[in-house]
Each structure stands twice: as structure tokens, then as C-alpha cells.
């Protein structure tokens, strides 16, 4: 039985694609067969995050239309043997696909892959409906901002309405120094509203942006950064491991102390 997970958020730009790319890579690295489905039709970018842009020949649209076989549309990752990407078409609108076609496509994929991660577009319209249609579970990504949390709450409500009962939360772009100054919602504040199980917290870190621009998921770095560890932990928790959450506040304090010590000496 494969696990079909949609990565969604409501609000745009909170890190869905970043989470999909890194989580997919991390799960594949752990020895699983993983297919990533870019459901952001019209605005594809998962191929960029994975550095696979120049390998895209066909997209999900051609596979759905029967213009190519599904296997032909799948792009093999250049680093992880177990990872493939089903790219979205850049030039077609979201209305060209319907939920039944998405279900059909993913059920075909589920014969060969253990994990299918679907990268959902922002919003709650047709693109959202398409992306969640085949899913059995969902990862809701939010940043600790009032508007993002509000939209995440809306998304959770819609997932529940669509009978997706397994919903987990990833809080992205936490800035410990801002939380400490009371300028940002804390993890607890977010959980209090959303009341869904926490799967992971990811710090705000420039290296995430650098890695995205390079097309090299940062979980592959030789020396793992804090966000890379966070992504790996999410992969492990998905498989049922009990991994303690990173104490970002403590990490932040350590850094502060180190700086203070540096100035004292």
C-alpha cells in the first residue's frame, strides 16, 4: 500500500514546494520509491527546485491526454535512484485537469511507488481540488504569521470536508529571535489555533533559498544544516519514528551566547 500525501497550505509562498522537494529527497534517501507530483499547473517549479528543468520532456497533461505513456512523463532524479518527478505543464491553465483525472493518474503511480507527494498550488479553488482529490493524507504547511495560519485553518477545514482525516502540520520559517521578542507567533500559538498534530518545524534560513536557486535540495548537503536536519526529521516522523523536535529557541540562545563569549574574550 502506498501513501498518497498532498502538501498544501491555503496561502501562497509559505514553502509547499520547498517542503515537497526536500521531503521527497529525504524519503528517497532512506531507501523508498518516491514519486513527486507537481499539481501546480500553469506555474510549475518543482523541477527547478530539484534541478531537473532540462530533463522535462512531457508533463502530466500529455500523460492525461494519452499523448504519452505515464512512464515517459516521469523524470528520474539525477541523484536519488528512487525518486521521480511528474512535472506540471507550464502553459496550460488549472482548468484543463479535473479531480477524476488526477485520481486516475495517481492510482497508476501508486502501483510502482511507495510514497506519492503531491505539491498543491496556493488557494482553495480548482487547483486545490485537483491536488487533494487523490490524497489519503495531507501535510499542511504554514508560516507563523496570522494570515498564513488563518488560511491554513481554512485548508484544514476543507480537507476534513473532503474526508481526508490524516492531517499533519509543518511550521516553516520560524525565526527564534523574533519569537523571543514576541514579534512572531510561536509554535504553541499556531498549534493552539490549528489543533492538528505537529510533524515538524523548520527555521527560516538563507541556505534554503540558496539551495532552491541551485536546484540542489539541501537535505543532500554533506554537512547537514539545521533546516536539512529538520527536513530529515520530518521524513523519519512520517515513517512513525519518534524524533524529538528541534529546540530552535535553544539553538538560537546558544548562538547568542557564543557571540557574547566571543566579544568577552
Amino acid at each position: 500500500m502506498s501513501r498518497i500525501i498532498v502538501i498544501t497550505s491555503g496561502k501562497g509562498g509559505v514553502g509547499k514546494s520547498t517542503v515537497t522537494a526536500n521531503l521527497g529527497t529525504a524519503i528517497a534517501q532512506r531507501g523508498h520509491q518516491v514519486a513527486l507530483v507537481d499539481a501546480d499547473f500553469g506555474l510549475r517549479n518543482l523541477d527547478l527546485l530539484l534541478g531537473l528543468e532540462n530533463r522535462v520532456v512531457y508533463t502530466a497533461i500529455e500523460a492525461i491526454a494519452g499523448e504519452c505513456r505515464l512512464e515517459q512523463a516521469l523524470v528520474k532524479d539525477k541523484r536519488q535512484p528512487g525518486l521521480v518527478l511528474l512535472p506540471a505543464a507550464q502553459n496550460r491553465s488549472k482548468e484543463t485537469v479535473n479531480p477524476a483525472q488526477m485520481r486516475q493518474l495517481v492510482s497508476q503511480l501508486s502501483q510502482n511507488y511507495e510514497y506519492i507527494l503531491i505539491d498543491c498550488p496556493a488557494g482553495i479553488e480548482m487547483g486545490f481540488r485537483n491536488a487533494i482529490a487523490p490524497a489519503q493524507e495531507a501535510i499542511v504547511v504554514t508560516t507563523p504569521e496570522v494570515a498564513a495560519v488563518r488560511d491554513a485553518d481554512r485548508a484544514v477545514g476543507l480537507l476534513e470536508a473532503n474526508n481526508i482525516r490524516i492531517v499533519n502540520l509543518v511550521i516553516n520559517r520560524i525565526k527564534p529571535e523574533m519569537v523571543q521578542m514576541n514579534d512572531m507567533m510561536s509554535v504553541e500559538d499556531v498549534l493552539e489555533i490549528l489543533a492538528v498534530p505537529l510533524l515538524g518545524i523548520i527555521p527560516d534560513d538563507e541556505r534554503v533559498i540558496v539551495a532552491s536557486n541551485r536546484g540542489e535540495p539541501l537535505v543532500l548537503d554533506e554537512k547537514l544544516s539545521l533546516p536539512a536536519i529538520a527536513f530529515n526529521n520530518i521524513a523519519r516522523r512520517l515513517e512513525g519514528d519518534k524524533v524529538p523536535f528541534l529546540d530552535l529557541m535553544a539553538a538560537h540562545n546558544n548562538l547568542l551566547n557564543r557571540i557574547r563569549r566571543f566579544f568577552r574574550s
Binding site: 488563518r150 485553518d153 481554512r154 476534513e160 489555533i193
Partner: protein
């Protein structure tokens, strides 16, 4: 027994509700309703709004599943239900999604009433018995109970999430939180066994006796009848059960424990007034 003051806003304020909510409440056409009328269970779809069909469908669909999943189950397993589609244009997929949602709540569609020919044709093709109605004549079913007192309370046993809007021509009882971005509008009281952080409107038909009660009153705005008040943030961050009500000076919030002991509704003042605590010491 001191009541906390809340900032009052009169009906003239620009951010006050534009039109009285009551037309929306008694009008069965604005929200999906699940009701038993003359013994027959019915799901009544809202009338088509001016927005896009897609938005309409999404909202309707969420309302339906929300009511089926978190409302009280007042039907027998396997009971037959009538779908009153009104002027909604439903395609076969949408009709099937409604049927599946009802099925998961152990309800089976027996008959579909529709005013749009296309919807009637779709329903017939799907094998339901169908009754097509002229959109111009008043619906043949009694839409809303004229006597509001008969309207039983609506129990919602889940978190009310952002984007959810519940309207009920009676009391609404929420066993869970009312999150920011959600809205509860009731003709009678609103009772929240959780944190109230969304918008609550009690007595939306103009009934000033109605109250809003919450274990944690964290609403930023409260509405009772035609009064509206902004609530300042709790200075202490400590919460206790509270009741918002209309006092002579406007909406007030009081501790729930002793509220009914020390307050009574004064018909002349058309508001809740404090009874003299001394007169109560005798009993």
C-alpha cells in the same frame, strides 16, 4: 458583580453589519439546511448566488459535509432523504458527491426536487425520482418554521475553522473552539464550550435577551441583536467562563458563574440589569 466594559459601536458605524442579519436567518435560501419537515428529512440547498458557480459549489459542499459530520445526528441510520436543489445547476459529478456525502452519514437520497431542467434531467439519469418545480412559484415545502421557538438548538461537535459560516434560526451550541475567521449567527443564544475567537452574533433576529457565552471569550467583536461591540484584549491573559449580554449601556461581559443569579432581563429597559446583590443574601 462587575461587568467588564466593551467599546460600543452603534448601528451608524461604517463597520457595523450593513443589513440586519435577520433577513438572512429566516431566509432559507442563503445557506444549506438539513431539516425534518412534516416527518420527512430534507437537505435544502441554498439558492444560486451571484458569484461564480465554482465558489458556490465549494461553499455548499463544505457546508453540507460540515453539517453532516459535526452536527447532531437526528436521523435514523439508512433513512431516506429528499434533496431540494432549488435553482442550483448540478452536474452528475456534483450530484454524485452529494449522494456520497449523504451516504457516508448513512442517508439515502429518495427524491430530488429541482427548478432547473438540467438538474432534473441529471438527477433522473442518475436514477432518482425527480420533481421539477417552476422557479417562479413559491416552493411547495414549508421553508422555515414560522414559530422560532420550535427551532431546536444546533449542536456542532467540532472546531469551527476559518471560512465556516453557520446560520441557525435557533440556539447554536459549539462543543469546541470557534476559530478566528469563522462566524456563528443564531436567532437565539450562542454557547461555546471552548474558545470563542471568531465572530458570534446572538439574537440575530433582533432578540435582545439573547446572550453569548464562552468558556474563553476571546472574540474581537461581539454582536447581539442590532448591537455591536469591539472587545479589548484580555489584559491578564487569564480566562474564565463569561457571558456577553445587552445591558442598558450596551454590550457587557460578565463572569458566567453568577450571571443569572445577579442579572435579570428588564423589559422596560429592554436590557439585562443587575439585581441588588444584598436582596439576594436572604436566600
Amino acid at each position: 458583580m462587575t461587568s467588564e466594559s466593551v467599546e460600543q459601536t452603534s448601528g451608524e458605524q461604517p463597520d457595523a453589519p450593513e443589513k440586519p442579519e435577520n433577513s438572512l436567518l429566516t431566509d432559507p435560501d442563503v445557506q444549506m439546511r438539513l431539516a425534518r419537515l412534516d416527518g420527512q428529512l430534507q437537505v435544502i440547498l441554498p439558492k444560486v448566488k451571484k458569484r461564480s458557480a465554482q465558489d458556490d459549489w465549494l461553499e455548499m459542499w463544505q457546508q453540507l459535509t460540515h453539517r453532516l459530520n459535526s452536527g447532531e445526528r437526528f436521523w435514523k441510520p439508512g433513512e431516506l432523504i429528499h434533496v431540494l436543489a432549488q435553482d442550483q445547476l448540478l452536474d452528475s459529478r456534483q450530484l454524485q458527491e452529494i449522494a456520497e456525502a449523504l451516504k457516508s452519514a448513512d442517508l439515502n437520497i429518495e427524491r430530488v426536487y429541482a427548478s432547473r431542467r438540467q438538474t432534473a434531467v441529471t438527477a433522473a439519469a442518475a436514477g432518482y425520482s425527480v420533481e421539477q418545480q417552476s422557479p417562479n412559484i413559491a416552493p411547495i415545502f414549508p421553508t422555515v418554521n414560522e414559530d422560532e421557538n420550535c427551532e431546536s438548538p444546533l449542536y456542532l461537535k467540532s472546531t469551527q475553522r476559518s471560512g465556516i459560516e453557520v446560520r441557525h434560526p435557533g440556539t447554536v451550541i459549539v462543543l469546541g473552539d470557534v476559530n478566528p475567521g469563522s462566524k456563528i449567527v443564531a436567532a437565539k443564544d450562542v454557547l461555546v464550550f471552548g474558545r470563542l475567537r471568531g465572530i458570534a452574533h446572538a439574537g440575530a433576529n433582533g432578540d435582545r435577551v439573547c446572550i453569548i457565552a464562552a468558556l474563553q471569550m476571546e472574540a474581537t467583536q461581539l454582536r447581539i441583536a442590532d448591537t455591536l461591540a469591539r472587545v479589548p484584549e484580555h489584559p491578564s491573559g487569564q480566562y474564565e467562563p463569561e457571558i456577553a449580554h445587552i445591558a442598558p449601556q450596551g454590550i457587557q461581559i460578565a463572569q458566567a458563574n453568577y450571571f443569572f443569579k445577579f442579572h435579570c432581563f428588564d423589559a422596560e429597559a429592554n436590557a439585562w440589569v443587575t439585581t441588588n446583590p444584598k436582596s439576594l443574601t436572604n436566600y
